[in-house]
Assembly symmetry: D2
Homo-oligomer: 260 residues x 4
Amino acid sequence: MNPLVIAGKSYNSRLLVGTGKYKDFDETRQAVEASGAEIVTVAIRRTNIGQDPKQPSLLDALPPSKFTYLPNTAGCYTAEDAIRTLRLARELLDGHDLVKLEVLGDPDTLYPNVVETLKAAQVLVKDGFKVMVYTSDDPIIARQLEEIGCVAVMPLASLIGSGMGILNPWNLSIIIDRLSVPVIVDAGVGTASDATIAMELGCDAVLMNTAIAGAKDPVLMASAMKKAVEAGREAYLAGRMPKKVYQASPSSPTRGLIGS
Amino acid sequence: MNPLVIAGKSYNSRLLVGTGKYKDFDETRQAVEASGAEIVTVAIRRTNIGQDPKQPSLLDALPPSKFTYLPNTAGCYTAEDAIRTLRLARELLDGHDLVKLEVLGDPDTLYPNVVETLKAAQVLVKDGFKVMVYTSDDPIIARQLEEIGCVAVMPLASLIGSGMGILNPWNLSIIIDRLSVPVIVDAGVGTASDATIAMELGCDAVLMNTAIAGAKDPVLMASAMKKAVEAGREAYLAGRMPKKVYQASPSSPTRGLIGS
Amino acid sequence: MNPLVIAGKSYNSRLLVGTGKYKDFDETRQAVEASGAEIVTVAIRRTNIGQDPKQPSLLDALPPSKFTYLPNTAGCYTAEDAIRTLRLARELLDGHDLVKLEVLGDPDTLYPNVVETLKAAQVLVKDGFKVMVYTSDDPIIARQLEEIGCVAVMPLASLIGSGMGILNPWNLSIIIDRLSVPVIVDAGVGTASDATIAMELGCDAVLMNTAIAGAKDPVLMASAMKKAVEAGREAYLAGRMPKKVYQASPSSPTRGLIGS
Amino acid sequence: MNPLVIAGKSYNSRLLVGTGKYKDFDETRQAVEASGAEIVTVAIRRTNIGQDPKQPSLLDALPPSKFTYLPNTAGCYTAEDAIRTLRLARELLDGHDLVKLEVLGDPDTLYPNVVETLKAAQVLVKDGFKVMVYTSDDPIIARQLEEIGCVAVMPLASLIGSGMGILNPWNLSIIIDRLSVPVIVDAGVGTASDATIAMELGCDAVLMNTAIAGAKDPVLMASAMKKAVEAGREAYLAGRMPKKVYQASPSSPTRGLIGS
């Protein structure tokens, strides 16, 4: 199975997971391990990765030697804020330059502000960051983000934390069709089939947090998501049967062996 | 993980597969093995399981010591035909009594004829068969089939061979809610996410043939389906997050560590 | 515009309405008038059409000289019950023989019991009734009801009183495609667009009750439904544009008049 | 029925129509009249409204004394282009300042370029235009366009000319919920029910072209669309019944008049 390649590095898992909303770092660790994810994203303004040396650090639960960290700008509403946050993250993580940019439009919908996102992406790419970027499912914006030099484009399936699944597969299909960098569905996955559908559409990977952390049994859901992403990827590669409207055909060849 | 129990026997796999439509018995075997299925269904009127001793037999490719055979009545349009076919199967298979009953309404849609199905089920149950029964998604008929004594009820997702997926999840939900015997979605699955959705609804298992045999790479699709069914089952058991319409909440707790 | 013909009689309106669930007979009358319906259906076991001479009668609010009455068997769970109810109705209505047969499966889902429905239809047709018959969206059953001699077949869109709209347009399409008698969607319509969609599929008419009576403003909703049914019928006759996936074309011819 | 108010002017019809893609101006006129539209939009770079005095002019078929003209910038891919085109239109139409701005992202998808659209809107509003603006279904962009001073915001249902209907009703709902200026669904309507659904969501109006011009019988489809928009508006105002999942209730009150 060909690997996912982001910014020149290969990954076997096509599931990326967030680290927020868990009971404690131990549950985070168990869920992340069950998910098989190799890339974990961290809300740099909300998670202790060493800023407070007296508190437990995520770095202990998920050692950076085993996981690729993806600091994100959750909670940022302007380009300026997002840029400052990621520069701080780079310092905290000793020059780590693979980041997830998100600039939100407002705290009620958490819908991305694509204008501020474009601005921030431009600055960050010039500043040497490898930018994976959260965005809407607008195919024109997605292409502009690629042109700026983002290393992955991450359109939403639906609102962050909504669990509504993929509301507009058609826009996602256009984005997948037109971009060369990896397209990763980020936000809106609610259950396993949502992830499978995303992969069947041809997405390169899926990123989620609440769908796992918000399940009754997060660790079991993490395992479900691992399989769901793999199932979707394999189904995409296997090439599904065509849909047949109405004119059904029998499941078995029609030459009969036994007469009636 | 609790097993699937049908007629008192336990199975680890919740994916049942058909054996028709493959290039040859070798491809059938490879796909069945990749699917992890323990129960395989055979169109008794179309497949050689010993009727013609000079031709290759499915029994060699898929030894009955390893797989539970489920002879089916594909191609039967009356109760009488179906009953005769299954009695013949019982003879061919040395008294094997676990069978799949299907009585179809016409050769164009292959939609089940539920009236003839009810008739046949009554006779077959009295005759000592353990009847797994293909039917429409009519919840009243489904319950009647259970009352007659069928050991599993198998409603369609959509027309046989159509690959249209689950057209009416609401009816399936009612059936799942009301029956005590296993409910197995049979017919209409087209790709991996269809199977995942069926399991997330609470179905006990999924049966498919064309979705695997009709894929460009049947063996890889079989593997996808194995994972898809497991993913859906685990997601069902894990308890998905609630869908949140509009009022999204951030993926990470809102207490900030780093000031803006 | 060609009329709807049922049992040899022509109707201009393709909207049939129920008369239950209104505040009083005056509201019933206003809503029915706003709907433009010419056929009104009456739950013979629940509505006073003369059984109790001391109570207000629906016959006064909606004079049979202006409306075609369609006595129905709401609340009947066996063929026997339904047959008895309609014979009583025929007496009450001086030999009126156009009736709506419904035999339900249970009081929780109100899903039709198609086996009992078939039985009752056979008896009633022989007995000289012109039977319009409520049924599931099972295309085989629908055809059997036509073969028995029913004058219209009325498949559900979704459960009675649910307002869920058309859950399985594919089954409806098969029914529409295969039957010669009028196909009337009955039950499940919740709002105007549901009725429009039913007509766009090619249904001959739509029957509803709760969607109008259960709206906040039933009379305004009745007017909406009148227009919705007409809109759907006209759109069906006008022949919609093909859906174009992805490759969009400009709304205006591409020869430019003004240079850029 | 309360009227649609745009930039201080009231309209009785909530259906706006394009004028392109018809056989000739006579068919355009018949379809527009059948639609009941009071506002007609004109691709200023493709339609003769006097630029070429020797050719038939749309102004003769649809006299500006009877219809409100809405010059649009179809075919413009930059803010600059769109601004120049609308200034030209203002000259051609003697100072007419109500315009429809659209800036597209590329000629293949015709998806809006929201960044260029924002730029052009800012300039045009300052320049005294009353700007109705075509945009994506991005709720953040929609609000920014309102803040700039656009008099109506016109999100797409799906790609221009695709007839795919409303792909993401959730985003539309957020936009409707948050904006004070009229929200008009523009692009993507394919058949009558699409228009009804848009209005039921709470849109203030619908604009379409291909759905009418591309139907087999455009004039009949125009009539269908008139009714569809009215039906949707009335249903929205009437307040639909709640959807009831599973627990159906009988269409008629359960007190029986006739014993069984």
